[in-house]
Symmetry: C2
Subunit: 313 residues, 2 copies
């Protein structure tokens, strides 16, 4: 009995997975499944040969697919972990070789646009595509940043389609659970509305503050006196501009709603301050302090502390 035969005898095991994009997200997924012995073969696909070679030498993938057909053929599961703007093109390239035995998922930070692109690319094979969003990341990128433990205790949100079979959803959920993740389900539109509020909006607000200050004649003086409060508030402004440009555009409708709501809230606060409305200001600050404290207490009760992370949420 070979090692591979031994491996594939485990429950929920996979003969072959194909990873499109072998960086932090795809690489960590592969490492976790390999570490738990639930996948016999991981094939990597990507635009840059050099990155694929590095992923192979790091043990993230077993082989480099020379063609999309080679990657897709015989795969139980395909993960698209490339920049989200490429999802449609990758799915279109995959579609011709997609047998009914294969399930496809993704790891994009937005879901409505991915579903739209997937419907266009896959046609009737949309039944085999189960959209997902793992809420995890690190400051580093690339195969070298991949960790088998990246998803342990982290949420992965599935936004299944009406057309998905229970078996397809289960295969994706099982794979993420084997990575140690906690599975949640949302409707794609609800997912996008939620993340517009708690992730995409804060990223834009942090970028806006840093750029506003950096553009001033006395920017050096301002940065000189900025302290730890400013540092934490703007940490997410250190994220990839290209990735966040794509996320903002992909989730434009929900994000415009959030920006309007926030501009109204800040304008209201400005009026309270202009009118020296001490009670009004204190009421907002107190509600916010208390709500945040309740939230922190709740997450500390259910989750282990996270290391500094970024870009994936």
């Amino acid at each position: 009995m070979s090692v591979n035969e031994n491996t594939v005898s485990k429950p929920n095991s996979l003969k072959k997975i194909a990873i499109f994009g072998v960086g932090l997200i795809g690489g960590s997924f592969a490492l976790a499944l390999k570490q738990h012995g639930v996948v016999a073969e991981v094939m990597g696909v990507g635009r840059r040969r050099e990155t694929l070679e590095r992923a192979k030498s790091l043990g993230i993938i077993d082989g480099i697919a020379e063609t999309t057909q080679e990657a897709v053929t015989g795969a139980d599961l395909i993960l698209i972990a490339a920049p989200v703007a490429q999802t449609g093109a990758l799915l279109a390239a995959i579609a011709p070789y997609l047998s009914s035995e294969t399930v496809v998922t993704d790891a994009g930070s937005t879901k409505s646009d991915v579903v739209l692109a997937a419907r266009h690319a896959l046609g009737s094979k949309i039944t085999q595509f189960v959209p997902a969003h793992p809420i995890a990341g690190r400051e580093q990128n690339g195969p070298e940043a991949a960790l088998s433990s990246l998803y342990v205790g982290k949420k992965v949100i599935l936004t299944p389609l009406q057309e998905n079979t229970p078996q397809a959803i289960t295969r994706v959920a099982n794979a993420w659970q084997q990575c140690g993740a906690l599975i949640h389900q949302l409707d794609a539109a609800e997912h996008d509305a939620v993340f517009a509020a708690v992730s995409h909006l804060p990223h834009l607000l942090a970028y806006a503050l840093v750029d506003d200050i950096a553009a001033r004649p006395n920017a050096d003086t301002l940065f000189h006196y900025a302290a730890s409060g400013f540092r934490d508030f703007t940490r997410i402004a250190g994220s990839s501009p290209e990735m966040w440009r794509d996320i903002a555009l992909a989730n434009r409708a929900a994000l415009l709603n959030e920006l309007d709501s926030y501009i109204n809230q800040v304008a209201h606060m400005r009026e309270l301050l202009a009118q020296e409305d001490s009670l009004g200001l204190e009421a907002i600050f107190t509600r916010a302090r208390d709500a945040r404290q309740s939230w922190i207490t709740a997450i500390e009760a259910t989750e282990q502390p996270r290391p500094h992370e970024q870009g994936g949420d």
Copy 2:
């Protein structure tokens, strides 16, 4: 030779200091000076007897002043470390007993309002008042939170008045240097403009976001999916509502300018997004990311890592 006589023989040593407010800020100042043996006697003053007793039992103060007169008489240096809104009343109470030998300073987060209150309270004795702002803090408050190391490597900004004598300024600067702090000087108005931008505005923005989200019908869902990016962005919304209400009102003019500038910046970003201006968005994100990276590189080159801290900046 008594311990006290030995102590006061050190250069720049102080016979007596009086601390109005023996919590984190005032207590840490006293502990640092005592630890370095540069003060013979520390008298504490405060509204709550119990807090003063705790400060005494912790070795922060040597004695509890029963009256303002007792605290002030014979002091080389007086530090006002009470909530900033009390500064005027405390200075007015001190003024009658203030001999020409005593220098007074404060630790408030805003300076123009403090200078105005001090001029009103002290009259011609304003020459003896040297305003200051230590850029340090912790999440905890009260005498138990005080640390002799709180100011090591941290900035203390003096905003001296034209009327101050060089001797008065030097006495305050020396005391903070003996705490391990780095001394900076700004004009009071410049100080307030700088901190409106890099500290007061971010606090209001963090409060605004959390309150906006907490007020929604689906707040529980939104908080449920908020991750580490949201946590860091909103950390300063965990700060004291009373303290930040007072700071916002005290620095109202500068903060209104900052709010207007920021609302314009976010509205501009909203328009870029509405128009799907990919290049425009990416340009802002890239400038912000690069400016923040340069800033982080610069502070990492000059400062030691800070623990999580809050409230004092």
